[in-house]
Amino acid sequence: MVTITATSTDMFQYDFMNNAFAAAGIVAVVSGIVGYFLVMRGQTFAGHALSHIGFAGATGAGLIGLTPLWGLLGFTLAAGVVMGALSERISNRDIAIGIVLSLALGFGLLFLHYYTSFATQATALLFGNVLAVDHEMIATLAVLGAITLLTLGAIMRPLIFASLQPELAEAKGVPLRFVSTAFLAIVALAVSECAQIVGVLLVFTLMVGPPAAAQRVTTGLWSGLTLAAALALAEAWLGLTIAYYTDWPVSFCIAVLSAAGYFACLGLPTLRTRRSQDDRANQSA
């Protein structure tokens, strides 16, 4: 993992910082937008599990000499499609997902065990390594990000309908299983990108923290999406900046900002809710 040993106060004179800002910017926007729907659908745990499955894919790819990103992408995509194809009405799906998640991490460990020279990269996979991003990776992330957002845009309307009112959506002709499978494939793409920045263990920091915070503050669809993307971007860039000046790990800084942003927003509308409850109490009195 690259640590910052630069002493200059102008972080943008370093190529690796410029690269990090570009990569983190692309990924933050994609993560914030895709994460908004993950939070809306109550599937954040599934997103978390996908990233762990991706860890097994990345280490497995290393074992057979492939780039970790493609292993990550392949495994998360396959897992996302399988999860989507299984019925959504598995009542104890948290348990099933948790078991698959542990199994995937176990396999990741096994692959590491047989490919020991890869172990140095394990930390980067688990906790991210945004400071080592090169131009080729930025281009890859940009293409993947564009595919992710375009696909999401294509299914967004029925996705929202199916997320909010599955029974009615089914009656109106929305193919529920196709929509949920396509969405989990989109999540798999976003998770793979996100893991390049903050690592598989911390994808929550960009994919769940900012959208959850945004949904506490605003209840409109477009305002929520915009705020989720903006918050993710601000947290990613601010995290990079703090990391530059303090020499703390970037992912740590982003994780702290994500949590701080969420808990700060949690406090805001509580006041508003209490007031509206008072209003209702007064009306019925």
Binding site: M40, R41, G42, G153, A154, I155, M156, R157, P158, I160, F161, A162, S163, L164, Q165, P166, E167, L168, A169, E170, A171, K172, G173, V174, Q215, R216, T219, G220, L221, G224, T273, S276, Q277
Partner: protein, 272 residues
Amino acid sequence: MNVVELDRATIGIAGHSVLSDVSFAIRAGEFIGVLGPNGAGKTTLMRAILGLLPPSSGMLHVFGRAPQRGDRTIGYLPQVRTVLPDLRVRGLDFIASSLDGERWGLPSLAAADRRMIEATLDSVGARDLASRPLSDMSGGERQRLLLAQALIGSPKLLLLDEPLISLDARHQEVAIDVVRKVCRDRGITVLFSAHELNQLLGTLDRVLYLGSGQAVLGTVEEVVTAPVLSRLFGTDISVVRADDHIFVMSRGRDVERVEHVHEHGHDHGHEH
């Protein structure tokens, strides 16, 4: 004209027939109370009318033809099963999601659609729900929001699946009043399923009782009688009328309040 017509129709889920060899016809503009125990087929009937469950035999016509999935002339209020506990979406966007929600692409909300949603919310007395997130709404408020949604798009047939569940007595009356007023004004045919007959007595035109795979449609005087219901449920039913209330009793107990008596009656019917 018959809005819904079944002729010797058998409708089931996964090979198990819920309604078998059922025939009845609902005329345009009628308010039909759909009654019967849990599992008698109220939801199944509505899903069949929506075109989600084709009959395995016999005929089912809606507006004179086989039901088509996604029919815009049918408004539907599903029995709420999916409740996301922390849904921070405001009422306006919740309803907007259902407008052309089956189309691909990005969601959009035209000014005319927004006005239509607000006007419909107004007509059920729930204008303030447009700006409030669902996570802050009570069960009654959510139900009213869903009712408004079912009325959007000028439906000719309204399927309301247990709309009174999770409402207190006062809100139940309000909900029935709203449906009656809006549907009488617009000439909408209504299938309104409920657990209790009495609240609907002043509103319904005819009652559709489901039980033991069978269905009986008729006026309250025709259907809610000891012989008809005893035959339908396959057990001894007595009907007591008092003060504009009708009590349907099985072995001295009110079947509409004691759910397991229904189940007992149902089983009993199979034994014979």
